[in-house]
Symmetry: C2
Subunit: 289 residues, 2 copies
């Protein structure tokens, strides 16, 4: 592939399959590939997701809301197996024309509302329940700045660094170097912010933490791309402290399990329809294993 | 650089200067490099920016608000020359610890508010003035979904495709191919959305359009990376129609000029402190040229 003699063609053309791991689900076109409706449960919120960092943001927020006793935040979480193309069903594309998890249907009001992009879903739920987002103007502005920071930064971590370090068909030095530098800069931005703040924007745990932790917290605990040593993440001491603090929250521990199909069997809850599922379903899985 | 024999080291190390165009402003650390306060003007809003796509989002919104006669949206726009490292001054880092343009100081209330990330600034201003964001729950959810879609998608266009197609030291085939495919998918997502909608979420022009247009509209009109032919952007007919429609708006034409330091002299307004600057400053520039 890459050498200094490559000259891009005048017009790009698709070579299917040419893209490393996940090449089979990356396409240059949008839209559905097959007709299938999405399942629907009885709760006000229907989540269609997978326990990737973006998926986990939303299940953590739901579990945090339920932890506060807000039963109106009850949700059904259905599994979208992205490696099998579930995100290209007509039902999923109706909810999210971008064919990415997570996607949410809010049936709590008179009109059914479809909402996509993890950041948008966090905003929607936080505002609906008036939790995990400050109500004063300055606090809200801070929370928005860091929430959007995460949305604009994580593509360099995931689609950039993660792809080239872990998933591309070869180890290409230049892209790995480029994206590693940017991820380290982002970790340093967080580390300086967390040097003086318990949580991202201060003393209050908000959707900014809930958005940032599944990506940068996972880097710290080695769960993402096995890149902790390469990026020397232990040197970001304030990020490490914050990541552990959040990992200890019961709602976070539950949220991480939902729609998870890998890792320890007891860490997987493929679908979530009731609080009791965290006990019974993982037990079932162990017994059938 | 890239060949199949490259093995990443155990711990990444920085080789300064190894990054193509803009290598001199990319660093693996955050924080300021020099002490300098930011200038401040007399208006309620102080913008520190450059007319990149992310910068232009904010100046377009300001000009749209002023076009509606909302004089409370008057702003001073100061130039941040990112190639000269202005974003690393102590004053800028105080406003935006992430050292990226645009950054805003809102002095309209009792407490001074710093806000960063273009999406966050758009939300803050749209909510403050109750304009360009729907007030009904469904419309607001749609607007949020597409606003966040832009924030999560454009890094693949800018930091991914744009870097490897236009700025990297060599033409590397694999990254160009990877990011071109994703950008084409994004264009197709937009094209399908705009097939049935005048604007992104329907009949209403919102901050979703204002966020998306400076990136994907610029691709269409050939202003971004000279990649219109390579990506065959003319084939996305609904995107082309929408992009032209927005380009015709007077506020958009003014917004594009602010903090612009390249292109035709008459298209550049380095700083903006009053509505009349659009006439007088560009005239001065022509005379001194």
């Amino acid at each position: 592939m890459a050498d200094s003699t490559y000259v891009p063609p005048k017009v790009w053309a698709w070579c299917p399959g040419n893209g490393g791991q996940f090449a089979n689900i990356n396409r240059p076109v949008a839209g559905s590939t097959h007709d299938r409706e999405l399942p629907q449960g009885k709760h006000p919120f229907q989540l269609y997701s997978l326990a990737t960092p973006n998926g986990v943001k939303v299940t953590i927020l739901f579990e945090e809301l339920l932890e506060l006793g807000i039963t109106e935040a009850e949700y059904d979480a259905y599994l979208i197996r992205i490696n099998e193309g579930d995100q290209f069903s007509s039902g999923f594309v109706h909810v999210n024309p971008n064919s990415k998890i997570p996607a949410l249907v809010d049936k709590s009001g008179e009109e059914e509302i479809c909402i996509f992009e993890s950041g948008s879903i966090l905003m929607h739920l936080a505002e609906k329940f008036g939790k995990f987002i400050p109500t004063d103007t300055k606090g809200r502005a801070d929370c928005l700045s860091w929430l959007f920071w995460q949305m604009g930064s994580a593509p360099y971590l995931g689609g950039g660094f993660g792809h080239f370090y872990a998933y591309a068909p070869e180890k290409f030095e230049y892209p790995i170097d480029r994206f590693a530098m940017e991820v380290k800069r982002q970790l340093d931005v967080l580390d300086r912010q967390l040097a003086n703040n318990r949580y991202i924007i201060g003393d209050e745990y908000t959707i900014a933490d809930i958005a940032i932790w599944p990506w940068y917290g996972a880097l710290v605990n080695g769960a993402l791309y096995e890149a902790a040593e390469f990026l020397d993440v232990d040197s970001y001491k304030h990020v490490v402290r914050w990541a552990q603090d959040i990992a200890n929250r019961p709602a976070v521990q539950r949220g991480r399990m939902v729609n998870r199909t890998w890792g320890e069997l007891t860490s997987q809850l493929h679908e979530r329809h009731a609080a009791s599922d965290f006990e019974t379903q993982t037990q079932d899985k162990l017994e059938s294993a």
